[in-house]
């Protein structure tokens, strides 16, 4: 039986990339899905395409605005009778050297990636608590939360913030029967990842750091999110599930076998 039969799911940032893959996998497993995104035209199109597989509704809005997030939650409850699952996926990425980050750039990063998560979790949490049936939330952080890269101070700060926020939220929401976890993707084949992946020099170079020797696919993140949102994960809360092909495990050196003398290797 599909794991999300009869469940109502809100996915933020659902118009494309990982968000779309998440929404699609929930629909495939029986969920009724509200797709929420800033890009109104695209989210309508995505919701309409996915409606061939199940129930979908598109809501256009900005995750950093409480009234927009509230409208998305209300739409979920009105259209599908409840909100059982939140997948807070909406986020932006950016590269900028620290000394050049202007206030507006910093503020926008925090507004979407951090305040957006706070608002989504709080509004969905209020609705779940009111209904009294518990629920499950999965927030997308990033391996940047603990494995930082040059020129991502503003981005990494928000993703680290998300991780800590979710751990706290797990404690505060436990009494309502709401589980909340993060997924930390590595480099995934999405609009955010493609500039690096398709760069003729940086693309293959970065791949040397991925033990699995390939980039992740959006559906692999979606699968992790579905697991955490499902009853299979009924005892998992406050967990950061890293889905990165092993990238953050350690350094993968390209050394021919036996070329390091034993005393140096140890």
């Amino acid at each position: 039986m599909p794991r999300f039969d009869g469940k109502a799911v809100l996915v933020t940032g659902a118009a494309q990339g990982m968000g779309r893959a998440i929404a699609e996998r929930f629909v495939e497993e029986g969920g009724a899905v509200v797709l929420f995104d800033l890009d109104g035209e695209l989210v309508e199109k995505t919701a309409s395409e996915l409606s061939a597989k199940g129930k979908t509704v598109a809501v256009t809005g900005d995750v950093s605005k409480r009234e927009d997030v509230r409208r998305a939650v209300e739409t979920c409850v009105e259209q599908f009778g409840s909100i059982d699952v939140l997948a807070a996926q909406a986020g932006i990425g950016d590269l900028c050297p620290l000394l050049e980050i202007e206030d507006a750039r910093w503020d926008r990063m925090l507004a979407i990636n951090l305040t957006g998560v706070f608002l989504s979790v709080q509004e969905a949490g209020l609705a779940m608590a009111k209904a009294g049936k518990g629920g499950a939330m999965v927030v997308t952080s990033s391996t940047n939360a603990f494995y930082v890269e040059q020129h991502t101070a503003h981005y990494s700060a928000t993703k680290g913030g998300v991780l800590t926020f979710v751990r706290n939220a797990a404690l505060d929401l436990a009494e309502y029967g709401i589980r909340i976890n993060t997924v930390c993707p590595g480099i995934i084949r999405t609009r955010l990842g493609l500039p690096l992946i398709e760069d003729p020099v940086a693309g293959p170079e970065y791949l040397k750091r991925v033990p699995l020797r390939r980039y992740g696919e959006p559906v692999e993140i979606a699968n992790a999110i579905l697991f955490l949102a499902s009853d299979e994960a009924s005892y998992v809360t406050g967990e950061d599930l890293v889905v990165d092909g092993g990238t953050t495990l350690g350094v993968v050196l390209e050394i021919p076998d036996g070329s390091i003398p034993g005393e140096l290797a140890s």
Partner: protein, 251 residues
């Protein structure tokens, strides 16, 4: 997992038994290993009664020859090896702080919990390479991620299991074997029932450590193990997954 073959060590009860049953339910044929052969046989019987295929293997995971024989049993009986859940462990003496911990206790716990996982990896990996790919989950613990008092060999070896997991995961990622760990919190197993010893105060104290307000069930750990072995976790490598009701978030 139809057509696939799984080894579960520590399969005579608790989390191991629940995971052996979950593997079988997902379609895998299972080799149930444990020192406790009676418990092992009972798990095999439960799998068969549910329509699955399984055999048991009396295995001391701290013995290289036993582990080698276990892997050989899987390959001889079912023709291949795809999944392994290296779960066998003992808690050792409790209530003995480091200075009171005997070396005999230390050696015994290290042999089973730490050397045992190394030996399982050592013999399972070649069989999986032979089968073309594989996925392994090692059992760590919430106390593999944080300290605790009174049973240092257990806490230390469970930290060590995460090290084994990460290093081996790096080595074999490119060769098609995914290796992860699972970190259960307080789970209602024979081991934990033994620690509680029927004392409601100890039970309340252990439950209070779980933000979710209850102990875990073995089936809940099993579900994570089977998921980590499944293709849905295809990009998850070297991860230590907490299944602990939020325990390590706020010990």
């Amino acid at each position: 997992m139809e057509g696939k073959v799984a080894i579960v060590t520590g399969g005579a009860g608790g989390i191991g038994r629940a995971t052996a049953l979950a593997f079988a339910e997902a379609g895998a044929r299972v080799v149930v290993a444990d020192l406790n052969e009676v418990g092992c046989e009972a798990t095999v019987r439960m799998i068969r009664e549910a329509g699955g295929e399984a055999v048991h293997s009396g295995t001391d995971v701290s013995s290289a020859s036993d582990v080698e024989a276990l892997v050989a049993t899987a390959v001889r009986t079912f023709g291949r090896l795809d999944y392994a859940f290296n779960n066998a462990a003992i808690v050792g003496d409790t209530g003995a702080d480091t200075a009171e911990c005997t070396q005999a206790n230390w050696d015994r716990v290290v042999a089973v919990n730490f050397t045992g996982v190394f030996l399982c990896l050592k013999y399972e990996i070649p069989a999986m390479l032979e089968s073309g790919s594989g996925a392994i989950v090692n059992t760590s613990s919430s106390v593999g991620l944080m300290g605790d008092r009174g049973y240092i060999p257990y806490v230390a070896t469970k930290h060590g299991v995460i090290g084994l997991t990460r290093a081996a995961a790096l080595e074999y990622a490119e060769r098609g074997i995914r290796i992860n760990a699972v970190c259960p919190g307080v789970t209602r197993t024979e081991m934990v029932e033994g620690i509680i010893g029927g004392d409601p105060e100890i039970e309340a104290m252990l439950t209070a450590r779980e933000p979710i307000g209850r102990m875990g069930r073995p089936e809940e750990i099993a579900a994570s193990v089977v998921w980590l072995c499944s293709d849905a976790a295809s990009f998850v490598i070297g991860h230590a997954m907490s299944v602990d009701g939020g325990q390590v978030v706020a010990p």
